[in-house]
Amino acid sequence: MSERNTTTIPSTHRPTRYFWLAVLALLCVQTATTALAQVTGEFRTVSVADPYLEMHTGPGSGYPIFHVIDRGETVEILMRRTDWFQVRGPDGTEGWVDRAQMERTLQPTGTQIEFAQANQQDFTDSKWELGLLAGDFGGANIISLYGGYSLNPNVSIEAWGSQILGNFSNGWMGSVNVVHETWPDWRISPFFTLGAGVIHTEPKSTIVQGEDRTDQIAHAGAGFRIYATRRFILRAEFKSYVVFTSRDDNEEVEEWKLGFAFFF
């Protein structure tokens, strides 16, 4: 009973605390909505500079044009999906306009609007990269995810996580790599890589013998980063691994992988 009494004392303060929290939350929502209203109202309106602006029914070149807006009229940009913009015309009609035509509209200042689109220069200069590769790891299948950060156009650091799925054993591998690109401005850019990490192997349940192992690994490799389009990179690489096992001999594994990545 006495315990219950002690707990009731602080709980009397709780409703007031919740009240203030609620007020704070309400204030935050209020400010956010007013800020949003300002953005939608003022900054997203453009005027048509082409003879007319073509509105498609959907965000794709195959969708039919169902409405046009004449030169000089203003439209409000609602959202973007890939290279298509949803706009609202002066009469309230909503439709999708492609990027090329949107770039020929004028802002309230009279200047042309520009939508940054990733190009090959960004491929060279971008800081972050995220990718997915799959391939063969010494006869087993491997699926890898990596994230990279460029210190400068030539040198970047990457963190890799892989799942290895073989006939007799499964496992995972984590490693940190240093990647050097000699000609980062080439569309097909070769690279060298070095790294170290750990590999965990567990035999399959149908295999009777064997136990789980965790070993250190080191690797060297080379490959190509190929600029495809927009933020897309194709990547192919070969890596040679040395697994520092606790047995007498070190194990050597060759790995081939192919995949894609994004830069941003």
Partner: protein, 228 residues
């Protein structure tokens, strides 16, 4: 032996960097050439900094909705182990109007094989080993974008898409490399909310019943996704 390999790995970076150095001596590592631009100077006589608000459209002001997140529920047939309810989540990124990449994860549970039911003997798998979980990473293409008409006055954007990918399936106590392919129909209820009808075949090798074979596990699902 071990130290020899470690030495080899030390020698490799020196060689690699040396080689690339010969080919591109200028600005080898990109370091050193970076110059910070001089800070903008305010003229001495000017007391008030002009604060003209530019009414220009900045790109971040435009809501970009290229990601799609959602959940699905359906039926999955696990070869030899009957069918079960499957449910999962998916996340897609639309790269262009045609291509998208997609990650998905799902789970179902295998039942009893016909052999287990007929023989009435000891079960092949424990209860937890019958749990099937998978993750898949796919590339998809909107092969037939179009519109669906409901009645006279309503049109909805739709797309028939094909998707292929790979991943890992955990079933019968092991992770198994799996490949999947299929097709789906995306029906956009609004510009940001979509319904999916999706059919997939998940393939993986399994040697549980004696010899190794490729198991086909068909899945049909209904899903809801939101663009953001």
């Amino acid at each position: 032996m071990e130290t020899r390999f470690r030495l080899l790995f030390l020698a490799l970076p020196i060689m690699a960097f040396g080689l690339s150095g010969c080919a591109a001596t200028k600005n080898l590592f990109g370091w050193g050439e970076e110059e910070t631009p001089p800070p903008a100077e305010i003229p001495e006589g000017q007391v008030i900094e002009p604060q003209v608000e530019r009414r220009e459209i900045r790109e971040p002001d435009i809501d970009s909705e290229d990601f799609e997140i959602g959940a699905f529920v359906g039926v999955m047939g696990i070869e030899d182990f009957g069918s079960d309810v499957v449910y999962g989540v998916r996340l897609a990124y639309h790269v262009t109007e045609g291509f998208f990449v997609e990650g998905s994860a799902g789970q179902a549970q295998g039942g009893l094989t016909s052999f287990e039911i007929l023989s009435g003997g000891a079960p092949l798998l424990s209860e937890s080993e019958r749990d099937l979980t998978y993750y898949n990473l796919n590339v998809g293409y909107n092969i037939l974008p179009g519109e669906g008409f409901v009645g006279e006055g309503r049109a909805y954007n739709t797309a028939l898409y094909v998707s292929v990918g790979l991943g890992s399936t955990r079933f019968a106590g092991d992770d198994r490399f799996s490949v999947n392919f299929g097709a789906g129909y995306r029906f956009l209820l609004t510009d940001s909310v979509a319904m999916h009808v999706d059919f997939r075949d998940h393939l993986f090798d399994i040697d549980l019943l004696g010899e190794e074979k490729t198991a086909h596990n068909l899945e049909g699902s209904l899903g809801v996704t939101v663009f953001f």
